[in-house]
């Protein structure tokens, strides 16, 4: 969807239409969750601190998010997708991969399906969507972002090679600021530059992602569209209204985060063997500390005790903290559950 949250706000409030708006809090801690296209012209983007957004665009209007509305619109859209295929893999509330190789309507053209879905979304929600169509997830994703808003981009098999060769490196899915800078330092500016590298060299520079870059630059991406993504971690975090340094207050916050996480874990029947504490300091320095266990953890008391100990790790800086987060990984979910397990005495 195009500027999803912001578009919904402009749809529902005529006074916001054709104006630069940002969904998100304007307070000192606020972050832009979505920016309208009018705001983007000023260089305002999602995930930007609201203060920076204000500096870039003095006239910007901040709108408090209404997640329940976004969620209900999201489920309407997902419903439309599922009328064409069950192979729908949501990436977020407003974005999903669809595998329409075999589809419920028996349609032969993915482009026609995309056109139909776009117009049905528009009719139902009065919002615009952009679609990308190609031979694999990587290319479809890149294509979907090419002609926003209200775009429809097709990369047919015969054009794949040429398309990737000219594709700027920062348009590759998975290339953000850090990887982008690294790529540029290596002289990789486009897909064509990437093709010059051997797999082993890419792995040396980018670890596991090296294999991914090697493959996608050759148009090869065999990841399936998975209707339900297997969760690899489960977490909760909180940004404080004011930075906190006192341990007692941090413990209280940690406890309530652990409780929130514990409730959700219980609800979904999830447990995990690795507990990670995330600490963001007032200067945005980010530290994580994790602890691994031989048995699965899920109770909020255990998680609290573990993360409290982690918080006291002597190598963590002692300075005001703006955010604490806890996540659980190494989960007991299907993929891991059937792995060989060390059995325990049952007292």
């Amino acid at each position: 969807m195009d500027a999803f949250f912001a578009s919904i706000e402009q749809r529902d409030h005529s006074q916001y239409r054709h104006r630069p708006i940002a969904v998100g809090g304007e307070g000192p801690r606020g972050v832009v969750a979505a920016a309208s296209y009018e705001a983007r012209k000023y260089g305002v983007f999602s995930a930007m601190p609201s203060r920076t957004a204000r500096q870039k665009c003095l006239d910007i209007i901040f709108v408090a998010p209404r997640f329940d509305v976004y969620k209900s619109v999201s489920s309407e859209i997902m419903q439309i997708f599922r009328e064409y295929t069950d192979l729908v893999e949501p990436l977020s509330l407003d974005e999903a991969y669809l595998d329409v190789t075999i589809n419920k309507r028996g349609m032969r053209s993915a482009t026609l399906i995309a056109k139909e879905i776009k117009s049905r979304i528009k009719a139902l929600t009065r919002l615009t969507a952009s679609a990308g169509i190609s031979i694999n997830k990587f290319l479809a994703k890149v294509a979907s972002g090419m002609n926003k808003p209200d775009g429809l981009t097709v990369i047919p098999p015969k054009d794949v090679e040429q398309f990737i060769r000219q594709l700027p490196i920062d348009k590759f899915f998975g290339v953000g600021k850090v990887t982008g800078a690294k790529m540029k330092a290596l002289g990789i500016k486009t897909g064509a530059d990437l093709l010059k590298y051997e797999q082993i060299d890419l792995i040396r520079h980018f670890g596991k992602a090296g294999t991914y870059f090697y493959n996608v630059s050759r148009g090869f991406d065999d990841r399936e569209v998975k209707p339900e993504r297997i969760r690899k971690s489960f977490g909760a975090e909180r940004t404080f209204e004011e930075d906190i340094i006192q341990y007692k207050m941090l413990h209280d916050k940690l406890k309530s985060i652990a409780e929130e996480l514990g409730h959700r874990l219980e609800k979904y029947g999830i447990s995990g063997k690795t507990v990670t504490l995330k600490v963001k300091y007032h200067d945005f320095e980010l530290k994580t500390r994790c602890a691994g266990f031989s048995s699965h953890k899920s109770s909020s008391e255990e998680i609290y005790t573990i993360t409290k100990n982690l918080l006291h790790s002597s190598d963590l800086p002692r300075k005001p903290i703006r955010l604490l987060g806890i996540s659980l990984s190494n989960l007991n979910t299907a993929e891991n559950a059937d792995r060989n397990t060390q059995l325990t005495l049952e007292f």
Binding site: F293, S294, S295, E302, T305, I306, N309, H312, S314, D338, R339, N340, T341, Q342, L343, T344, L345, E346, F347
Partner: protein
């Protein structure tokens, strides 16, 4: 406070007590050793709150008093000091001067009264145990003690003491060791306590000589006096799980084999196993077992056969090789007996024959193998 003492005499005592000082602590004072002079007797004390050690030695006292000095620095300087006499003096603020040979060293300590006092304990029950027995009872069980701070009850060894029997038990949930001795007499005490592993490790350092040790047990503490040294430890105030209920009685697949050939085979095979799970499998068949491992990540594998005495059905069972090795090293007969029931239940590991008046049982839970 002021006294003089021979360097080596002081050093040997500091070496002892420094073992209790925690490496990291939320209470900075615990990273120091208390020096307390009364007339010609110096008492050194260290503590990590759970465990406190007192060591006394004779010195030339000039002025009574006490000071707590940082463990690391006092240990290092006395270790490096020239042979001969040392003179230590301090004021009431904790400022301390050490003179050794031509050297003068200033150390900033803390006033002695800031150091935690000895636990106040009354109503000790004294249990006398032969050093050799106590050493064996600790050494055999300590390998199974848990390191999981979330299971405090398992972070020590359970001592069950009766009039004519003493038992030690430890488990981390994956393995369990239980040693029972019947050649034991005691009229003073019947009961059970969980003793922290750190205390037992300290105690092991004193059990090499012949003779007996007096284990003094109170409601919350255990204490041993060893010549000039006294060690106090808090008892783990938790409920030890009902270990007897998990010791299988009907394991009918009985295997006996040469301990050393089994151990050396495992040592070879484990080189090829997954470095986190250390998983190996034992494929049992008539009179032979194949010990194998496959590591998918590094694409390595190993297979080796070992002769055994076994006449039961074929069976494949997985173990963490590190656990199995530790348990087998604990066996002190030439042959070892394994008693199994199924590939997902506890295996009993026993010596070929029990020592007189002793019952020594070990348990290991397998790894569930999925094809």
């Amino acid at each position: 406070m002021q006294f003089s003492v021979d360097k080596n005499n002081l050093l040997s005592h500091i070496q002892k007590v420094s073992k209790v000082s925690p490496t990291r602590s939320t209470m900075p004072i615990l990273n120091s050793i208390l020096f307390d002079i009364k007339e010609n007797q110096l008492t050194l004390r260290s503590s990590d709150i759970e465990i406190t050690m007192n060591a006394t030695l004779n010195v030339n006292g000039k002025e009574d008093g006490a000071v707590a000095l940082p463990t690391r620095i006092i240990y290092d300087i006395i270790n490096e000091a020239e042979e001969g006499e040392l003179i230590l003096s301090s004021d009431t603020e904790g400022a301390c001067t050490l003179k050794s040979g031509k050297g003068v060293f200033e150390i900033m300590g803390r006033p002695g009264d800031e150091f935690p006092s000895l636990p106040k304990i009354s109503n000790f029950n004294d249990v006398e145990i032969e050093n050799s027995t106590l050493r064996r009872m600790i050494q055999k069980t300590i390998i199974a003690v848990s390191k999981d701070e979330l299971k405090p009850a398992l972070m020590g060894v359970l001592f069950q003491i009766k009039r004519h029997e003493i038992r030690t038990v430890a488990t981390d949930g994956h393995r369990l060791v239980c040693l029972i001795r019947q050649d034991f007499q005691n009229e003073a005490y019947e009961g059970e306590v969980i003793i922290p592993v750190k205390f037992l490790n300290l105690l092991l350092g004193y059990l090499d000589s012949e003779g007996t040790t007096l284990l003094s047990i109170s409601e919350n503490h255990v204490k041993v006096e060893l010549d000039s040294t006294v060690i106090y430890s808090r008892i783990i105030d938790e409920h030890f799980p009902d270990y007897e209920s998990v010791i299988p009685k009907d394991n009918d697949k009985i295997i006996s084999m040469d301990l050393n050939s089994l151990l050396s085979t495992i040592r070879r095979v484990v080189i090829f196993s997954n470095k986190t799970t250390h998983q190996i499998s034992l494929s049992l068949s008539k009179n032979i077992t194949k010990i194998s491992t496959v590591n998918q990540e590094s694409r390595t594998s190993a297979d080796e056969e070992v002769d055994i005495n076994y006449s039961g059905d074929d069976m494949v069972v997985g173990y963490n090789a590190e656990y199995l090795k530790e348990i087998l090293r604990n066996v002190d007969t030439n042959n070892v007996i394994l008693k199994l029931k199924s590939s997902i239940s506890a295996c009993l590991i026993l010596p070929e024959e029990q020592k007189e008046n002793e019952d020594f049982t070990m348990l290991l839970m397998p790894i569930r193998l999925n094809e």
